[in-house]
């Protein structure tokens, strides 16, 4: 493995972990809200959340490139805060990765919170648990396997993400050039053995990460309230 490959690997892992870290609280809050809300606009919001999965990565990438560019509101705000550009930066591909993976994380969380059911929420209230305590001690432990599944999907998808990262990040070594982009570069250079080695490495990491996260997902916390 070359130094560039090791850098790409580190970047991919950092992007995957950071994406999951940002997505987890979002998925829990949004998934729970979608599970219980009676808001009329819910189907439209759910459709919008699904959109990144249905559109081609180039379309999503282009939309994000424009939406996060130096002329955009988000791009200008980021530049004012940090002095740097959002596109072609790690922060940029992280934001893109979070948005693209939102449906993968939110959907399983939403279904898991829906599975808790009205009766158990009522039982929690009749046990004297405030809404916050009921969420922490009943809903979250019961929904945890679904939430962990969403995290697994988002992490694995981030490791393999190509189109959107390329569009928004531009494959800058050490900054936005992830492992999947490094594989593409090797193929472009007719280094098929090098590409295969990196592909195997990516596959191994994905399997390991998924196994670990599934094990975590099977531990819903303490047995006692």
């Amino acid at each position: 493995m070359t130094l560039a490959d090791a850098t790409a690997l580190r970047l991919s892992l950092a992007l995957g972990l950071a994406t999951v870290a940002v997505l987890l609280p979002l998925a829990i809050l949004l998934g729970r809200w979608l599970a219980v809300t009676r808001w009329r606009g819910r189907p439209l919001l759910e459709a919008l959340l699904f959109l990144p999965l249905l559109l081609p990565p180039t379309v999503v990438g282009l939309a994000l490139l424009v939406g996060m560019g130096p002329g955009s509101l988000i791009g200008r705000a980021f530049e004012a805060l940090t002095g740097g550009r959002l596109v072609f930066s790690f922060a940029g591909i992280l934001l893109a990765s979070v948005l693209v993976n939102l449906p993968l994380a939110v959907q399983p969380a939403q279904r898991a919170f829906e599975g808790v059911g009205v009766d158990l929420r009522a039982a929690a209230a009749s046990c004297g648990l405030s809404p916050r305590a009921a969420f922490r001690r009943v809903e979250l432990p019961l929904a945890w396997p679904g939430i962990a599944t969403g995290a697994v999907l988002a992490f694995a998808h981030t490791l393999g993400e190509f189109g959107v990262v390329l569009m928004v990040g531009g494959a800058i070594p050490g900054e936005t050039a992830t492992l999947s982009l490094a594989i593409y570069d090797r193929v472009q250079a007719f280094d098929m053995m090098g590409a295969a080695r990196l592909a195997l490495l990516l596959t191994g990491i994905s399997v390991l990460a998924i196994t670990l996260l599934f094990l975590l997902g099977r531990k819903p916390g303490s047995d006692r309230g």
């Binding site: 209230a125 009749s126 001690r137 006692r224």
Partner: protein, 231 residues
């Protein structure tokens, strides 16, 4: 003022509800009526789990006066739901402890012992318990909050006859131990007659008849008896 439970409630969904009841301290009211009469909905309205208007007063303290009132989690009820409503991720002991204001393992064990749940069975999760055991845990959990009102929604419905008899005897014993007014929803008043001091008959969301259970059962002209005869 130990006046017990007084309520005068109305609701529109899921079934229209209207009715007034008074259950004195230390007494049990059997709430009887056909399926869909609104019995479970009335219990939920008392517990604050169903939007309703009207009044609920417990020993002189107002839980509700108009719409809204105290949120469900602040109404000190011991609720046994149909099927138990136990938390599947907690073992029997955990299900009791979660209802204690301050977790007290020994007190929770004592409550479980009072419903004849002792030893290794307290470490089992609901999926590993029989229907009768689940109802025992649900009863212990309902008592764990030191409730001001006990609401039991068909606790004997999902178990076979011998277990049902044991549960009825258990509820009768718990009745002796707690002074909280109790409402017991049941399809089978004759089985619960030994526990109930009072009975109320519900139909179409309305409480149409109330009185001492023995007197209602003895009166062939009562609406309750006419319904029992036609059932």
């Amino acid at each position: 003022m130990a006046d017990g439970l007084r309520l005068d409630l109305r609701a529109t969904a899921p079934v229209p509800l209207a009715g007034a009841l008074h259950v004195p301290q230390g007494q049990t009211l059997a709430l009887v009526g056909p399926s869909g009469a609104g019995k479970s909905s009335l219990l939920k309205a008392i517990a604050g789990l169903l939007p309703s208007s009207g009044s609920v007063t417990v020993n002189g303290a107002s839980w509700q006066d108009g719409a809204g009132g105290l949120p469900a989690w602040r109404r000190r009820v011991g609720l046994v739901m149909q099927g138990g409503g136990l938390f599947p991720h907690l073992d029997a002991l955990g299900n009791v402890m979660i209802a204690q204001g301050r977790p007290d393992r020994d007190a929770a064990r004592a409550l479980l012992a009072a419903v004849q749940m002792e030893g290794g069975v307290t470490g089992r999760r609901p999926a590993q318990l029989s229907g009768g055991e689940q109802m025992r845990v649900a009863l212990a959990r309902a008592l764990a909050r030191d409730p001001a009102v006990l609401l039991l929604d068909e606790p004997f419905a999902a178990v076979d006859r011998p277990v049902r008899r044991a549960l009825i005897a258990l509820v009768a014993r718990l009745r002796q131990a707690s002074a909280a007014p109790m409402i017991l929803v049941t399809h089978d008043l004759e089985e619960a007659a030994g526990i109930a001091d009072l009975a109320a008959f519900m139909q179409g969301g309305d409480i149409v008849e109330t009185g001492p259970s023995a007197a209602l059962l003895a009166d062939p002209a009562s609406r309750l008896n006419r319904w029992l005869a036609s059932a």
